[in-house]
Symmetry: C2
Subunit: 315 residues, 2 copies
């Protein structure tokens, strides 16, 4: 089967959703030359979307909140894409499917595009194809791309590393505030959203999030919003806050700075990926194994072995 990359990416750029779906599947499959070709063709058209990350523990109501935000953005005339990444084992397929069902109220709206991705073996982190998928959705012309993920450790950090604005959602009475603090969430949240804010304990959760921040006075204050997503309460204000965060980033130059640091990270990771392959191939694929044998026999220490590997690469 031959693959018409130029044709399909061209149609993607023209707004063809079926072409987008196909390209996203390629990116998810991750066959190297194809991914490179796609990225090279789409990169030029990217950089316009507002990339919004949404994370939080299971049960805080992320999906309902996302769906309500999509409704609000649509009412404001925005084209919206939702990328849902499930950073967990084969086990959670069911939960993710359940979440997606709730997005079905937008199924007939051509201004909304919803896509799920599994993380497949990338334990505790986002799917490795996430940055490329965001690039494709951005290039496809969406005004807002919402990246939604269950907050487990590494995935939360990664959401923040690829999003312009990161919303961390918690719910009352789940001990989330404390857990959030433990995961270093203050360093990655741009906005807190206390969902299910009509429940007992909402005030306490807000207070905990606020108190936590006072313990780390060096960081900028993170606004705390209250929503009851199931009733549509607080959504307008949250959407406003997300927009204002982007505007503020844009005005004070932090948007450029964040995107620049994201580009640095991406280019470095890609380059390191190339180097990793060269290491494996060094001296016809035998050098690495020989070095490891010698490390195992304690004839050479790991640092010295690493130096030899780099020397081989430099020829």
């Amino acid at each position: 089967m031959s693959v018409d990359v130029a044709g399909l990416t061209g149609r993607l750029l023209d707004g063809d959703r079926r072409a987008l779906a196909r390209v996203l599947s390629w990116l998810e499959d991750g066959a190297e030359p194809l991914v490179r070709d796609v990225v090279a063709r789409l990169h030029r058209a990217s950089g316009h979307a507002h990339l919004v990350g949404m994370t939080g523990s299971p049960g805080v109501g992320k999906s309902t909140l996302s769906s309500q935000l999509v409704t609000e953005w649509r009412a404001r005339g925005r084209q919206v894409a939702v990328l849902a990444v499930d950073p967990s084992s084969p086990f959670s397929g069911g939960a993710l499917l359940g979440d997606r069902v709730r997005m079905q109220e937008h199924a007939l709206d051509p201004g909304v595009y919803v896509r799920s991705m599994a993380s497949r073996g990338h334990l505790g982190g986002l799917a490795w194809a996430t940055p490329q998928a965001l690039l494709a959705l951005d290039a496809a012309g969406f005004d807002v791309v919402l990246l939604e993920t269950v907050g487990v450790g590494q995935a939360e950090v990664e959401v923040a590393s690829v999003a312009d604005t990161t919303v961390v959602t918690v719910a009352p009475g789940m001990g989330d505030a404390v857990q959030a603090a433990k995961a270093g969430i203050l360093e990655i949240a741009d906005l807190f959203c206390v969902n299910k804010a009509d429940r007992d304990g909402a005030d306490r959760t807000v207070r905990e999030l606020s108190d936590m921040q006072r313990l780390l006075p060096g960081l900028p204050e993170i606004p705390i919003h209250r929503t009851v997503a199931a009733k549509g309460e607080g959504i307008v204000e949250l959407a406003d806050a997300i927009g204002e965060h982007r505007d503020a980033l844009h005005e004070d130059g932090r948007l450029t700075e964040r995107r620049r640091s994201r580009a640095r990270m991406q280019v470095r990771e890609l380059a390191l990926g190339v180097v990793r392959e060269r290491f494996a191939a060094a001296a016809g694929g035998t050098l690495f194994d020989e070095l490891i044998d010698r490390v195992e026999r304690r004839e050479v220490d790991p640092y010295t072995a690493a130096d030899r590997l780099v020397e081989a690469l430099e020829g």
Copy 2:
């Protein structure tokens, strides 16, 4: 202040605990030439300890369990080191301190050495100095080195990647079993320990852990142990199981295989670290920035930029 690396590592190898403490501080500080020198000197003496990883959510009773295991190992004549890594924010200093207090029953026993390390900015993962610290404790002659960490996402995976035997501890009624499944724990646990097994729901937790495994039939069965650490119940059996796991690994060659794969990973990571620095320094430190500028201006895509970076390294 001049630093006598040869003298201090020599005393460490002779069993001097103060020398060990000093060396661990160097490793934690991470000053590069010093770390290299220490590792080069200690590597040869390492490889004898049984590295046991213990992970689990806050509140499952990990510290009490660890302390009881230490007691049991001591009764069996083993020299034991405990390395407690807290993979969370500045916030959890208190909790960690509380944990350590419980280890104080071993404070006067010269056959037990306890050390805590913070993870400092390495979000959701272990402290980066963990492998080096394990190496030092191993070289210092301990028979068992217990690496204890709070299970949050990435840290759990990393524990498994540095340990010979990984014990995942859960407690009844915390929804841990389901959470554990979500974090892909089946792929990293060698043993499950259901602690607080005298509580309601213990049977259910055991059943959940067992059912989970049936859903992924490809993997080897993970034994499930019950303990009541606070009363010392089930500790002998757990210590037996940990020892048996190591023996089985040793006999069927998996110990060598695991340690080899660990060495591969470590050497590769160190080599990539060297390469990362070379990237930053490429063309007098300007090439990387120039490439990122061009990526930002959409003149070049990230893959092409990565290739240019690798080409510069290869001269």
